[in-house]
């Protein structure tokens, strides 16, 4: 997928900003993803050149970490915790409900581009499970009703923004 000239420029600028930082590749990838929403394939050669790495090394790092996405994602990220504490409080049922409600599986984005669904292994909120994360907010004691409320909250928020 092609990226705009602005995005290309912003990647080049970020590479310049991070290239002298010791071990700067992860902070750089976070910065690119923060800016563009994902790490486009066309960023790889620019990063490789700037950090004096091979393209294979850069690709290897991007593909190793669950956080880094290589294609555009939804406007919101929804993460459902799959770890043991949440399981003990019914997250398996919640997980099934979430997938059914959104009509997508993990790693997919809803057709309207609103939500990308991801699994997460622990949000560190294990005394009040099950937990989910929507963008940078974490929610505790999420049952199916509460999930539906949170999702309809997201859509009305988007409606208001239009």
């Amino acid at each position: 997928m092609g990226i705009s000239q602005n995005e290309q420029q912003s990647i080049t600028d970020l590479v310049g900003q991070y290239q002298a930082l010791p071990g700067g590749l992860l902070p750089l990838l976070h910065a690119i993803q923060g800016d563009i929403g994902y790490v486009p394939d066309s960023a790889v050669p620019i990063i490789a050149k700037g950090l004096n790495l091979s393209r294979a090394e850069v690709h290897g790092v991007i593909s190793f970490y669950h956080d880094f996405k290589t294609s555009p994602v939804g406007r919101h990220s929804v993460q459902v915790c799959r770890a043991e504490a949440c399981q003990s409080m019914g997250s398996r049922q919640l997980e099934a409900h979430v997938k059914q409600t959104l009509g997508i599986d993990y790693g997919e984005t809803t057709a309207d581009g609103a939500v990308t669904l991801e699994p997460v292994y622990c949000l560190g909120n294990c005394a009040c499970s099950p937990s989910i994360r929507i963008d940078d907010a974490i929610y505790a004691r999420v049952d199916t009703d509460r999930f539906d409320d949170l999702i309809s909250g997201l859509s009305s928020e988007e409606g208001a923004a239009k």
Binding site: L26, F64, N125
Partner: protein, 508 residues
């Protein structure tokens, strides 16, 4: 009257922001503290009154008007009234050293920190030689709180003894185990304590640069740590010539990217260097060749946080808590299906049953407890016959279990332990770094073999095969990921075998 409503992840996740807004609507600007770790009471509203500091919880926005009314008359008449904070039994009975300040005030307020003995340990350390500091840590008996329980003083001595132009202090804040939140609570409720511990570590071994490797799942901790570091630089507790001592220490937070394996110290170092988080073979030890090949102290958040109180109150004080070779206090994190979950700091030696029954008050669902997993996803599932084991590193190792980072996840009697054993293998499939074949491939085969056992396909032979596979993983993996994934699997097989018959949850 001063009002406090917490701003840590759990309180926010339970709606503390809307409580704060309701207070503002009523004309009250609440102080934003960290949590005390009494998560079953969150959002916990605390009010400093003439009669002491009292609590109400769990509070929602709609409770605010009635609480304000009750405060004018008789606070104890309110149904959410919890009494004086310091007298709540859950809190009062704890032995809080690391969490002594948690929840008392604004976590990033330097004045608040210093008024509660903050930086006293550092001030003492600035008057000492590196060897004297290391000796204090050795005398305290402090062992690494990340899970491996290696004596911190010995690790520090190794780094101190290295002759190098550059050394590093790395804080492992990649708290990935399910059922754990102790590191997060330190970082969100008392971040300066961690910063102080890291500076002391730098003074001790001669390192001038520190990194906190923080998991990306902790956005609130990230924000608060960065504010705290910025402020510590402003008042010269960080940076060049700290408090006129001529000593230097720089500190930076680096975010992980959602890889559980990066909580393993060598994988973490690779990640900090900007690489794939592949586990390194040891030796060389990170203490000798660590970050960028230089001598490096890698310690968990809780280990480093404990340093400030050890230096402040003395090694003997710390050493007096605990049992056997497990000295000091343990941050127990009570989680999962539990009525009163939270952070419980106690000397080593309390039994699992006391924690779960007396503090936890049983399950959240109200059903009987069936299994307890201690020490994260690589920890064993313990049946009731093992709940009287004291929480001590050696006592747990003796029953093939582990304390790990102190997380306790409780399951009620609806739990299907075959499904949990399968999940342990599945988690290893997702999170293995891929370096060791037994871990990378063995976990995939483990899922398949468990599926066949549950489907009653060639059952006896597949059970033998699963045990052999577990042996191979335990003996043939470099780190605990492959080496300990068999622990939950084998314990589920040993204690809950009737779940593996394809009929779902069984009788034992």
């Amino acid at each position: 009257m001063i009002f406090y409503i917490p701003q840590d992840t759990t309180a926010l996740a339970l709606g503390s922001e809307s409580v704060a807004r309701a207070l503002q609507t009523a004309g009250i600007e609440p102080g934003r503290n960290g949590s005390r770790g009494l998560f079953w009471l969150e959002p916990l509203l605390e009010v400093e009154t003439d009669q002491g500091r009292i609590g109400f919880g769990p509070v929602t926005a709609k409770d605010i008007p009635s609480i304000i009314d009750a405060l004018q008359a008789d606070p104890s008449s309110h149904e959410l009234y919890q009494g004086e904070m310091a007298e709540i039994p859950y809190l009062k009975s704890q032995q809080r050293l690391t969490y002594a300040r948690a929840g008392l005030g604004d976590p990033v307020c330097l004045d608040n920190y210093q008024s509660l003995n903050g930086f006293n340990g550092l001030k003492k350390a600035l008057q000492m030689t590196g060897q004297q500091i290391v000796d204090q840590v050795k005398d305290s008996g402090l062992r690494g709180r990340g899970g491996a329980a290696f004596p911190a003083g010995i690790k520090w001595q190794t780094v101190l003894n290295c002759d190098s132009d550059q050394k590093y202090i790395v804080c492992n804040a990649d708290e990935g185990d399910s059922g754990t939140f102790a590191d997060r609570l330190v970082m969100e409720a008392d971040p300066y304590q961690l910063i102080e511990g890291m500076i002391i570590a730098g003074l001790a071994v001669g390192a001038n640069q520190g990194y906190i490797y923080l998991r990306s799942e902790y956005p609130v901790a990230h924000k608060l740590l960065n504010i705290a570091i910025e402020r510590a630089i402003q008042v010269n507790f960080l940076g060049e010539n700290i408090q006129g001592s001529g000593k230097t220490f720089h500190l930076e937070v680096r975010l992980g990217a959602g890889a559980y394996i990066c909580g393993e110290e060598t994988s973490l170092l690779e990640s900090l260097e900007g690489k794939r988080g592949m586990v390194r073979a040891k030796p060389p030890l990170p203490a000798i060749e660590g970050l960028f090949g230089k001598p490096t102290v890698v310690n968990n958040v809780l280990t480093l946080a404990a340093i400030s109180s050890i230096l402040d109150q003395g090694a003997d004080h710390y050493q007096n808590f605990g049992m056997g070779r497990s000295r000091g206090t343990l941050a127990i994190q009570l989680a999962g299906n539990i009525k009163r979950g939270g952070l419980i700091e106690l000397a080593f030696g309390v039994t699992l049953r006391e924690v779960v029954e007396e503090y936890g008050q049983g399950t959240y669902s109200g059903r009987p407890i069936r299994a307890i997993q201690v020490g994260g996803p690589l920890g064993a599932f313990l049946p009731e016959s093992q709940w009287d084991t004291p929480m001590d590193y050696e006592a747990f190792a003796a029953i093939k279990a582990m304390i790990g980072h102190g997380g306790i996840v409780v399951f009620d009697d609806t739990a299907d332990m075959a499904a949990q054993a399968r999940f342990a293998m599945e988690f290893c499939v997702v999170e293995s770094c891929g370096k060791c074949t037994p871990c990378r491939i063995g976990s995939v085969r483990g899922v398949e073999v468990i599926d066949r056992i549950v489907a009653n396909e060639n059952r006896e032979n597949n059970l033998i095969l699963l045990h052999e596979l577990c042996d191979t993983m335990e003996m043939g993996s470099l780190c605990a990921m492959g080496g300990m994934t068999p622990f939950p699997v084998r314990s589920a097989l040993a204690h809950f075998s009737s779940d593996f018959t394809g009929q779902g949850r069984g009788d034992n």
